[in-house]
C-alpha cells in the first residue's frame, strides 16, 4: 500500500546542512523558538509521524503567532461529519510550510450542522477566520434514498449541491463572519455496475461522482472556496488515501498516512487566500529546457523536439511553462552560460516552444545562481518567496535552497519525461480563483523589463562551499579512462583554454612521452561523484618552463574553486619536474570567451597579447603559493 508523498520536497532521511532531519528537529526542540528554523524543517517530504513530531515543537514554541510575521495568522475551524482530529497536525505544519501561523479548532464529532445552524459557544469564542467543511462521502450519500429512481436521485443531488451545502456556507458567513473551504468527496463506494454505474439512479458511487462534478460551480456561485480533494486523490490513488479498515475502526476517511498530503492541499488554499501563490517560474536551460549543453553541443547538437523520447519530453516541459505563463506566471531564465549561446535556441531552434518574448527576465552568466535569482526578483520586483526555481542539477538546487531558503526549489526527477508532472504536483502556482490581472501579468512584466547583464556580487558562497566536502581526485592518464579523456578533449568548447583536439592515439603516444604529462581530475562532493571533470596536458619547454598545452573543465563545476585547486596540482607536477615557471596560453574561439581572463585571474602575468591569435601568460613558481580553496586534494598517482 503506497502513501501519498510530498515528492517535490527533499528526503528527510538524507543528510542536509550536516545533519539528518530528525537530529535537526531535536536541536530545534531544545533551542530558543525560531520560526524560520521550523519553516525550513516543514519543507521536507515528511510522513505523518515526522509531521506530528514537528507539530509538537511548533505548538509548544508558538502557541501564539510570532511577532514579526507579515502574513495574517489564520484561525481555522475544522468541521466534519466523521473523525477529523488526526488531520490537525498536518494542517498546522502545511500552513507553516507556506509561512502561515495556523491555529485549529475542531468541531464535535459529526456535529457540523448544529455548529453552523445555531450559535455554538466554543466556536464563537474561537472566532474563526476560516471554516474548513470536511464531509465524508457516506454522509453525503445518506441524502440519496436507498431505492431512488432517476427523478429522486436528481432531486437529492440538487438538494446537496444547491441547498444543504450553500446553506452551511451562508450560515458560516452570517454567524461567524468567515468564508468556507469546501472539499470534494472521496469516491469510496464500490461500483455495482462498473462502467454502466451512471445508469443506476440508486448508486452511491454515481451520486458522489455527480455531486463532485457540480460542486466547483456551486462553490463559485455561492462564494465558497473549492478544495478538490477527489482530484488530488487520483495522484496516488484512492487506496493510498482511504483505508477501509481505518474507516470501520475509527471513522477516519482520510488515512493518517495521507494526512500530510491533505494538509498540504489545504495549505495551498491558505497560501492562495493570503496572496502567497508563486508568481514566477525560473528555469535552468542545459538539461532542463533541452538535452545537452548548448555551449558545447551547439544548436544542432542539443536534444529537443520530435523524434526522440527525451527531445519530446523537453518540448512538453516548455509547453507546460508556456501554458503557465499564459495564465499569469512569469517565466525567467537563470543559466550558467554565455548569454549569446543561451539565447541562440530561443532565437533560432525550430523546435523551441519558448521564445525570447515569453521570458520576462533572462539571466545567463557564470555567476552564482543564488545571486542571479536575487537579481531576477529585484528586476521583476517580486518577493523571493514567490519564485519557483527548476534546475536538473542537485548542486544548484541545494545551493539556492541554502542561500535563499524562501525560494521554492522542487526536487526534480532525473528522468526529463517526469519533470512537468513533478513541478505541477508541487502546486506552487495553485490559485483559488482566476483574475483578469493573472491573465495579463506576464505581459506587464515584459513591458517593464530591460534586459541587462548581471553584476558580480560578493556572497556567503565560501561557507557554502566549505560545507560541500569537495575532494578533487587526480592522476596521470591511463588506459582505463583514456576514452573518456579523449571524449572530453574533443567535446569541450567553453571552458577550454586552447581547444586543441587529440585522438586516442595521440594521447597514447603522450603517455609514453617523457617530456609531457597528462592529468585527469574527478570531483566528488556530498551530492556524489561529478565524474571526470577536467583534463590538463603539460609539456616541458626550454628555460625550465612547463607549457600548459591543454586545460579544459566541465562547466558544471564552475565557481567552486576547482580551477585554483587544479592549478596547485599543475604547479606541484611542474615543480617535481624541476620547472621554475608555468606558461599558459589562451587561444580564443567563438565559444571559449568565459576563460579569456582565467590566467590573469589565477595570478599569471601577461607575456604577449597577439589579439585574435591569442595570449600567453607566465607564472614563476619560486615564491608562488596556491590559493586557499574549500577542496581537498587526493592523488591517485
Amino acid at each position: 500500500m503506497s502513501t501519498p508523498q510530498l515528492a517535490w520536497l527533499p528526503d528527510p532521511t538524507v543528510t542536509t546542512k550536516g545533519h539528518l532531519w530528525d537530529q535537526r528537529l531535536s536541536q530545534a526542540k531544545d533551542a530558543a523558538p525560531d520560526w524560520d528554523t521550523l519553516l525550513d524543517l516543514a519543507r521536507y517530504n515528511l510522513n505523518f509521524m515526522r509531521t506530528m513530531k514537528l507539530d509538537r515543537v511548533l505548538t509548544r514554541q508558538f502557541p501564539e503567532p510570532p511577532a514579526h510575521l507579515s502574513v495574517k495568522p489564520v484561525r481555522l475551524a475544522l468541521l466534519g461529519s466523521s473523525t477529523i482530529n488526526h488531520l490537525v497536525p498536518s494542517l498546522r505544519v502545511a500552513a507553516l510550510r507556506h509561512g502561515i501561523w495556523l491555529t485549529v479548532h475542531t468541531g464535535e464529532y459529526g456535529s457540523y450542522r448544529q455548529e453552523l445552524g445555531q450559535d455554538d459557544e466554543a466556536l464563537k469564542e474561537f472566532a474563526p477566520t476560516l471554516i474548513l467543511l470536511l464531509l465524508d462521502a457516506r454522509h453525503i450519500a445518506g441524502f440519496l434514498p436507498r431505492n431512488a429512481d432517476q427523478a429522486t436521485a436528481d432531486m437529492a443531488c440538487q438538494e446537496v449541491v444547491e441547498s444543504l451545502l450553500p446553506e452551511c456556507w451562508r450560515e458560516a458567513k452570517s454567524r461567524y463572519g468567515c468564508p468556507v473551504l469546501q472539499t470534494s468527496f472521496l469516491p469510496v463506494f464500490p461500483r455495482l455496475m462498473g462502467s454502466a454505474e451512471a445508469l443506476l439512479p440508486s448508486s452511491s458511487a454515481n451520486f458522489i461522482t455527480r455531486i463532485n462534478s457540480l460542486l466547483a460551480a456551486s462553490c463559485h456561485k455561492h462564494g465558497a472556496i473549492f478544495v478538490d480533494l477527489a482530484a488530488e486523490a487520483t495522484q496516488y490513488g484512492l487506496e493510498a488515501w482511504y483505508d477501509p479498515s481505518l474507516w470501520w475502526r475509527a471513522k477516519q476517511e482520510i488515512a493518517p498516512g495521507a494526512a500530510p498530503a491533505f494538509g498540504e492541499l489545504v495549505g495551498r488554499s491558505l497560501a492562495a487566500l493570503a496572496g502567497r501563490s508563486s508568481k514566477c517560474l525560473v528555469l535552468d536551460l542545459d538539461n532542463t529546457l533541452w538535452g545537452g549543453v548548448i555551449g558545447d553541443d551547439g544548436l544542432d547538437g542539443i536534444e529537443l523536439g520530435q523524434g526522440s523520447p527525451l527531445g519530446e519530453a523537453f518540448v512538453a516541459l516548455q509547453d507546460f511553462a508556456l501554458r503557465l505563463s499564459r495564465r499569469g506566471v512569469v517565466l525567467a531564465v537563470c543559466s550558467k552560460n554565455d548569454e549569446v549561446n543561451a539565447r541562440l535556441p530561443f532565437q533560432k531552434h525550430p523546435e523551441m516552444i519558448l521564445r525570447e518574448k515569453d521570458i520576462g527576465c533572462f539571466v545567463a552568466n557564470w555567476n552564482d545562481k543564488a545571486e542571479n535569482i536575487r537579481e531576477i526578483a529585484s528586476r521583476l520586483n517580486i518577493g523571493l518567496d514567490s519564485i519557483v526555481f527548476v534546475d536538473d542539477n542537485p548542486f544548484e538546487r541545494s545551493r539556492v535552497r541554502e542561500a535563499l531558503p524562501m525560494v521554492n526549489v522542487p526536487e526534480i526527477p532525473e528522468d526529463p519525461t517526469l519533470v512537468p508532472d513533478a513541478v505541477a504536483a508541487a502546486g506552487y502556482f495553485d490559485l483559488i480563483e482566476l483574475s483578469a490581472e493573472d491573465l495579463n501579468r506576464s505581459d506587464q512584466y515584459q513591458a517593464n523589463l530591460q534586459r541587462q547583464s548581471l553584476q558580480e556580487s560578493a556572497t556567503d558562497l565560501d561557507s557554502y562551499l566549505n560545507g560541500l566536502d569537495m575532494t578533487l581526485i587526480y592522476g596521470a592518464f591511463n588506459s582505463t579512462n583514456l576514452s573518456r579523456i579523449t571524449q572530453l578533449i574533443n567535446k569541450s568548447n567553453q571552458f577550454n583554454l586552447t581547444t586543441r583536439r587529440y585522438s586516442q592515439d595521440d594521447l597514447t603516444a603522450l603517455m609514453a612521452d617523457d617530456t609531457a604529462f597528462g592529468l585527469w581530475f574527478r570531483l566528488t562532493d556530498r551530492f556524489g561523484d561529478n565524474g571526470l571533470i577536467a583534463v590538463v596536458i603539460g609539456r616541458d619547454a626550454a628555460e625550465g618552463i612547463v607549457d600548459i598545452d591543454t586545460w579544459l573543465m566541465s562547466c558544471r563545476v564552475l565557481g567552486r574553486g576547482v580551477e585554483e585547486a587544479t592549478l596547485s596540482v599543475i604547479a606541484a607536477q611542474a615543480r617535481a619536474r624541476g620547472a621554475i615557471a608555468l606558461r599558459g596560453t589562451y587561444l580564443p574561439t567563438l565559444k571559449n570567451s568565459m576563460v579569456a581572463d582565467m590566467y590573469s585571474r589565477l595570478g599569471f602575468t601577461l607575456l604577449e597579447d597577439r589579439g585574435i591569435e591569442g595570449k600567453s601568460y607566465i607564472l614563476p613558481l619560486a615564491e608562488w603559493m596556491p590559493a586557499a580553496t574549500s577542496i581537498t586534494l587526493s592523488s591517485e598517482f
Partner: protein, 80 residues
C-alpha cells in the same frame, strides 16, 4: 530481522507516538501501563508500524493484540 530488531524499532515508534524518548516497553506492557494509549494512539502506532516495516496488519490481528509482546510476535511473523 530478529526479535531484538523488532523490539528496538517498535520501541522507537512508541517513543515517537508518545513523545517520550525514555519510554521502555516490556512484553507484558498493555494500554493500561502507558498514559495516553487510547484508540487514537493505537491507530497511530499501527499505521507507523505498517509504514515502517512495510507490512499490513489485518483487523482481526489488531483486535487480538493483548500486550506489546503480542505485537512483537505479530510483526515478527510478517517480517521474517
Amino acid at each position: 530481522m530478529n526479535r531484538n530488531d523488532v523490539v528496538e524499532q517498535i520501541t522507537k515508534i512508541f517513543q515517537d507516538v508518545f513523545d517520550d524518548p525514555n519510554l521502555t516497553l516490556k512484553d507484558d506492557t498493555t494500554a493500561q501501563d502507558i498514559p495516553g494509549w487510547d484508540s487514537v494512539a493505537m491507530i497511530n502506532i499501527i499505521v507507523a508500524i505498517e509504514e515502517h516495516f512495510n507490512i499490513r496488519l489485518k483487523t482481526r490481528e489488531i483486535d487480538a493484540l493483548k500486550s506489546v509482546g503480542d505485537l512483537y510476535e505479530t510483526v515478527l511473523t510478517k517480517v521474517s
